[in-house]
Symmetry: C2
Subunit: 506 residues, 2 copies
């Protein structure tokens, strides 16, 4: 292995993966910890990614007839208690509002006052409060389906927070639908999962496996939880989105009834589905290298930075004029769902300037100096290539080809991620080999994990929880796209009809 130049991120992935993750976020200027335990500040460069994800998803949702609405942040405790499994699933991570004002306390400082008759929970998810509205909106089969989404913040109290991946407050969308028939609700559950797959693969360049959760990993109160699972660079899995078929559980809890075409009173069939700012954590761990994040062009905060090179002050006006006219020309072009976004950075800070943009992961860096201008060309660096591998291109060629170059970068990132997953996904039938695959002693570094083991499972809770206890490995999903194949459970040896995906997970 040839000696590498020092990387921009310290430590590197190989040296200390978890610390590397924190440093990438810091140096890419995506987010920061806040003084409020478990909460984060999403900085403009990170928030722009979320805005792009929102726009792409929102368009896809609306094409299927979904409409946006907004429901209260607060859920009365009694609402949450309506569905027994549901409240049990969230009780340990609820932020509770108990008072509605502040007043001077005995020692002169302010203390909570105006105690509420019933505590309010900050929504960890909104099935119960949205269900309450649905019960009023639905009378007849003619009112169905109801197809609603909301973009919102939610709170699930987190004792061991990690930026983007696990924060007490996070941003997400939650879709909630109600249908007249079970089949229609299941079709909708799958339809939304397919939208998440498309977002992940085509926009985030993050390959995912679609499948079904085991009963123990289901959303609290769901009949069936479908998910997309991605492999991170440390070979752990990230659950990147879920879509739940809720059967009639929440309709019964919230009394969502309708009169059918046959004039019978029936409970509706509901679904819910969501993705969150966690996707940005997945993006970082899918595409970053030891120089920082690499943003897939389709959801990048910005596409290209122009870096005027002005060594002699007398060149300034000529160089800036060229730079600004190029910026204008590029902004008039469109790529994916928006115009090409262009930054101009004329700070006089030497080599640090280029490195700032490498760490921030902008797809293209374009240097423009007097010599380039004389030749009517630009000097282009791609974030998916080595940082000193730059190419001189005629200005008009660059303008004409920029969308193709962006597409190439997008494709490269996806292919690299596919390769990583392929290299680290193994069919394992032997119990001993299965243990070895997931046992840190056999790995170079304890933070780099085995990968995805495609192994047989008998379907029992016992085997699932034994593996979880022994190895901290969970069944990420029962994949949809896998051939039926008979085998023996990797834990107990009993017969199995299907391989499932085992992995350590975030």
């Amino acid at each position: 292995m040839k000696k590498q130049a020092k990387a921009a991120i310290n430590p590197t992935r190989a040296e200390d993966y978890p610390q590397w993750y924190q440093e990438v976020i810091k140096h890419s200027d995506l987010a920061e910890r806040s003084p409020v335990r478990g909460c984060m500040v999403i900085k403009p460069w990170g928030y722009a990614i979320w805005e792009n994800i929102k726009q792409v998803l929102d368009n896809m949702f609306k094409e299927t007839g979904v409409k946006n609405a907004y429901f209260p942040l607060f859920i009365p405790l009694s609402f949450l208690e309506k569905e027994a499994e549901h409240v049990e699933g969230f009780a340990k991570e609820c932020a509770v509002v108990t008072h509605h004002r502040l007043e001077k306390g005995p020692d002169g400082g302010l203390v909570p006052a105006g105690q509420l008759n019933e505590p309010l929970i900050i929504r960890p998810t909104s099935e119960t409060i949205i269900g309450d509205s649905f019960s009023r909106w639905v009378d007849s089969y003619r009112d169905l389906p109801v197809l609603i989404n909301q973009w919102a913040n939610v709170v699930r109290w987190e004792m061991r927070p990690r930026l983007f991946l696990r924060t007490s407050e996070f941003l997400w969308q939650e879709g909630h639908t109600a249908h007249a028939t079970k089949d229609e609700a299941i079709t909708r559950t799958k339809m939304m999962l397919n939208i998440y797959e498309k977002l992940a693969e085509e926009y985030l360049a993050m390959p995912v496996i679609k499948g079904r959760k085991t009963p123990s990993e289901r959303f609290p109160g769901a009949v069936d939880t479908m998910c997309i699972e991605a492999m991170m660079q440390d070979r752990k899995a990230l659950q990147a989105g879920t879509s739940h078929f809720l059967g009639q559980n929440f309709a019964k809890a919230s009394d969502i009834k309708f009169q059918s075409a046959e004039e019978k009173e029936e409970y509706a069939w509901t679904t819910s589905w969501g993705v969150s700012t966690r996707l940005i954590g997945g993006l970082i761990m899918t595409h970053s290298d030891d120089d920082g994040i690499i943003l897939p062009p389709k959801i990048a905060s910005s596409h290209v930075v122009l870096l005027p090179i002005i060594k002699n002050p007398k060149d300034r006006s000529k160089v800036m004029e060229f730079t600004e006219s190029l910026a204008k020309e590029l902004k008039d072009k469109s790529y994916a769902h928006r115009s090409i976004e262009v930054e101009i950075d004329d700070r006089d800070i030497g080599g640090a300037r280029g490195w700032d943009w490498i760490k921030k992961g902008i797809p293209l860096r374009v240097e423009i100096g007097p010599r380039d201008i004389a030749e009517n060309s630009v000097f282009v660096g791609r974030r998916d290539q080595e940082h000193n591998n730059k190419t001189s291109l005629k200005r008009d060629v660059f303008v004409a080809e920029i969308t193709d170059i962006l597409d190439e970068i997008q494709k490269n990132l996806f292919e690299r991620a596919i390769s990583l997953r392929k290299e680290n996904s193994v069919k394992i039938d032997d119990t001993r080999k299965f243990k070895e695959f997931f046992t840190p002693e056999n790995l170079e570094k304890p933070e780099i994990h085995g990968g995805f083991a495609l192994s047989h499972w008998c379907g029992s809770d016992e085997c699932e929880s034994r593996i979880k206890e022994d190895l901290s490995v969970t069944i990420r999903c029962i994949p949809f796209d896998i051939e039926n194949e008979k085998g023996k459970c990797v834990c107990c040896g009993r017969p199995s009809t299907n391989r499932v995906v085992f992995a350590k997970a975030y």
Copy 2:
């Protein structure tokens, strides 16, 4: 006055204005009360207005260099206390989080558990939590200005809630900027107020008066609060947006310091500015009539509804084909910041169908029957005209002219609102006449108020608060666009250099 057909909204404005407001919201399907005290559910038809407002504002903000970010929902009590006037201003309406989980209580039900060391306040506004980030982001004058906006929910506990106008939780944007000089911060404060004026007048068709609040009406902690004030149809004022120059108060509270070009350590100068879902309340009370809301085309949830008329089932395919091809043609056109949005309503419910859309305020209703198709024409009703005043237009003429028609509606609505304000804005110099103007006995209905009194004020807190106590009338603003004119205070008779706007207010 000629006898009117019964209106769609019961009661009418004249009969019971406050109740009329509630009924308009219900029948237009904009929002509903939620079971959570003071909170509302914004339904899709209402939320779409907010999405349009967001898009228009977001574009205008970004053009001035503002970037979006996201900060925590929770504010530690100690942060809020950093600015004395600020915490005093919000203490009485704070939702307080005191616990972070639920556990089984003595009687088996769930109770709050895991008490926090420090209570967290749900943000009523974010100066202090954003200031904390700014203190980390700003070191040198080169880091300034910082221009940030966030789209978020906030909570200000409300004992007498009213949909859109006053709810415990509401949606808004809050901009926060930090600058190296006082002048630059004041320029930014005015710049954002001008953007709000543009949004209000050009998009919401809601005329506003720009001005400055008196010291007693300032944002808690601000040095100067600028505002836009609109007149509602009951002649009360609505504060529709505010932009605050915060001086160095919050920079000192949050320790936002920078090294100047002269290498001196200085506090930054900050601003904050916001508008909220309250604007939708203002929209309703500016444009609705006794048949429901009238949506200004530029921010309407949708522009046009196509109403196929199928009396004979054998006509269905022909009528639907014409309808759908017209819809497609219209959607390919753009208006203001987006494509023309088209609804198709083929419900077979008789006249109720047309009335549903009148109540929802869609700008254009287009009836399409076999006879229209035979003549290649459509039958168009405009929401700014009498409901039975419909016009037959050739299909191609309608398609060609639809954006002009929408512009005309937009203009009409603005002109009507201007007229109402003009008719009900009066220069009053006499104390007795001033009292009469605002005294219910002299009015037809107690819910319809005097209007805007342009009167002299000496500048004293005493006169301002006496008028407030006696008449429930406040100084809405000291208008920017008013000629200097000497006069005598309408309360005490002392000299004054300027008229101010007095009104009852929401």
